[in-house]
């Protein structure tokens, strides 16, 4: 049996939405799945892990109870868990946290790692990912004693494969760490990160200023969507860099990408070409994005977005009235 470890990310005491896809991606013939938790994902979380086919749930703790978040201590705990259970692979989410931790673990174990995978075969040690910012797709082979992979959020759809899971706790003893975590500054917008969002509404040059992003936020709210931006909007100082989608920003794979007033440069496509449905709203019928989307509207975003927000709000208030 191949023992495959899966790092399970949680947020606010629940499993992250994209975890199901990660477990699904990690499944392989003869694979025994170990879900590794550094935080409690609740009873619902454990039931979900069983529904996706996990065989063993490992609660990783420190010597004196739970291990609070710390980047290199968490990575050290994962590396020790891999050794303790003699795991031959570690699969995680290629989120900001996952990238950081998996890279630290790979460095500590001197083991190969492929991040941002759109598919993996844990039995054959292969991974598929895009290189050169989405312009090419490569199949990579990892060689080594332990293999690490990070799955791009939403790239693999979760499929159920019910199982019964054992639950075990593992306490790690960690050495003193040179890094001191002084504080975590929570952002006012507590929504999902762009890289993990199901739906993204993004604005570009056509937004003509920071104020218009309020329109996108209003539209995003009833949808539970995240708001993104093109490089122009970021370089103009309308929104912070963390909202940038594209080559020097974030790579996203939402189910829906609504581009408002974005012309669609090569660099922007690099960040969102693996999105599911791409809908473009642009005044300019010659904008590059019009040729490369699924649906487009040639109109002013200042007309379309508020109309969409109004209809979405009608639906959500109707849904609430029925409850």
């Amino acid at each position: 049996m191949k023992r495959i470890g899966i790092f399970i990310e949680c947020k606010n005491g629940r499993l992250k939405d994209a975890v199901g896809g990660v477990v699904t991606a990690a499944r392989c013939d003869g694979g025994e799945l170990y879900a590794l938790l550094l935080e409690d994902g609740g009873d619902d979380g454990r039931a979900a892990l069983e529904s996706w086919g996990v065989h063993t749930i490992v609660d990783i703790r420190g010597e004196n109870g739970p291990l609070p978040y710390h980047p290199s201590r968490w990575a050290g705990a994962l590396a020790r868990t891999i050794r303790h259970f003699d795991l031959e692979a570690l699969v995680g989410l290629s989120s900001l946290l996952g990238k950081n931790l998996l890279a630290r673990v790979a460095a500590e174990l001197d083991a190969p790692l492929v991040l941002d995978c759109t598919a993996i075969d844990a039995a054959r040690h292969t991974a598929v990912k895009t290189l050169y910012s989405g312009k090419t797709r490569a199949t990579l082979q990892t060689k080594g004693a332990v293999h690490l992979y990070g799955i791009r959020p939403n790239a693999v759809a979760p499929r159920s494969s019910p199982s019964r899971a054992n639950r075990t706790a593992y306490s790690v003893a960690l050495p003193d760490d040179p890094i001191r975590l002084r504080e975590i500054q929570r952002s006012a917008d507590s929504g999902v990160d762009l890289t993990e969002a199901d739906t993204i509404i993004a604005g570009g040059r056509g937004m003509a200023g920071p104020e218009a992003f309020k329109l996108l936020e209003d539209c995003a709210r009833p949808l539970g969507a995240a708001v993104g931006a093109s490089r122009v909007a970021v370089d103009s100082g309308w929104v912070p860099h963390r909202m940038q989608v594209g080559q020097t920003g974030k790579t996203v794979t939402p189910k829906v990408y609504l581009a408002a007033g974005i012309s669609g440069s090569v660099q922007h496509f690099a960040g969102m070409k693996t999105a599911g449905l791409v809908i473009a709203v642009n005044k300019d019928p010659k904008a590059a994005i019009i040729q490369k989307c699924d649906y487009f509207v040639v109109a002013d975003l200042f007309d379309i977005i508020p109309a969409l927000t109004e209809q979405l709000n009608k639906i959500s208030s109707k849904a609430q009235a029925m409850r």
Binding site: P71, S72, L96, L97, K99, N100, A103, R104, A106, A107, D110, P112, L113, V114, L115, T130, Y132, S133, K135, T136, A138, L140, Q141, T142, K143, G144, V146, P178, I179, R180, L181, R182, I184, Q185, A188, T195, E196, T199, L223, Q244, Q247, T248, K255, V256, V266, F269, A270, K273, L277, K292, C293, D294, Y295, F296, V297, I304, A307, E310, Q311, I315
Partner: protein
Amino acid sequence: MNIFVCVKHVPDTAARIDVKARCRIDENITFIMNPYDENALEEAVRLKKVTPEATVIAVTVGGAAAQETLRAALAMGADEAVLLETRSPLDSIQTAGALAEAIRRRGPADIVFTGKAAIDSEGFQTMFRLAAHLGLPAASNVVSFGLNQERAVVTCEMEAGDREVLEMPLPCVIGAAKSLNQPSYPTLPAILKARKKEIHTTVLEALDLPAAAGHVACLDMTPVVDARTPVELKGTFEEIAMEIIHLLRREAKVLP
């Protein structure tokens, strides 16, 4: 104080990428310094300005053409440039081993800056491997950097706009994010001066580095083709809005 900056020579973001042979791209295109490495270099130059007797050393591993990126680094304020020249494509494990060796040879390092990722291979890991080789702590996605009595204090971007503040002793490895600073582009005199500086070149294979246990090999690479057929939505604003909602429900299933 020796301030090292690891840079990478990468295809221009606007370049068209053609796959030539198996896993090799046509390199007859414009190359640039990896954008995040520009932020790393800028931070190094800023640190030098406030540190007495500091030297900024730019290091890269790559083909002979990577000299151009080192020239750009010299023009942007690096004092020395080191090229470990190789024609073979390296994975991040080999790259980190080579960079570590280059730093050890020139050393000692008081701090190492680099970009949080390279935009061609998008591995997000070389800096951590380099840190492990050198036995140093590391922080990535750094958006602010400061020194407080031999300790680095950095702010790192986390998810959804959250940030963490980390403190660690020097030497350490810092992975620059885009919003760390605004790189200042070189002046013409600086570019001309950089042309005359020496680039210390060593053939990587001559170093006879031990083979790493782990490896990532490319089996196949194909261009990604856009396979979307655009359909226009027409009607009044309200009709278009309803049509979009229909798509969100039926096609994408993100709405009930």
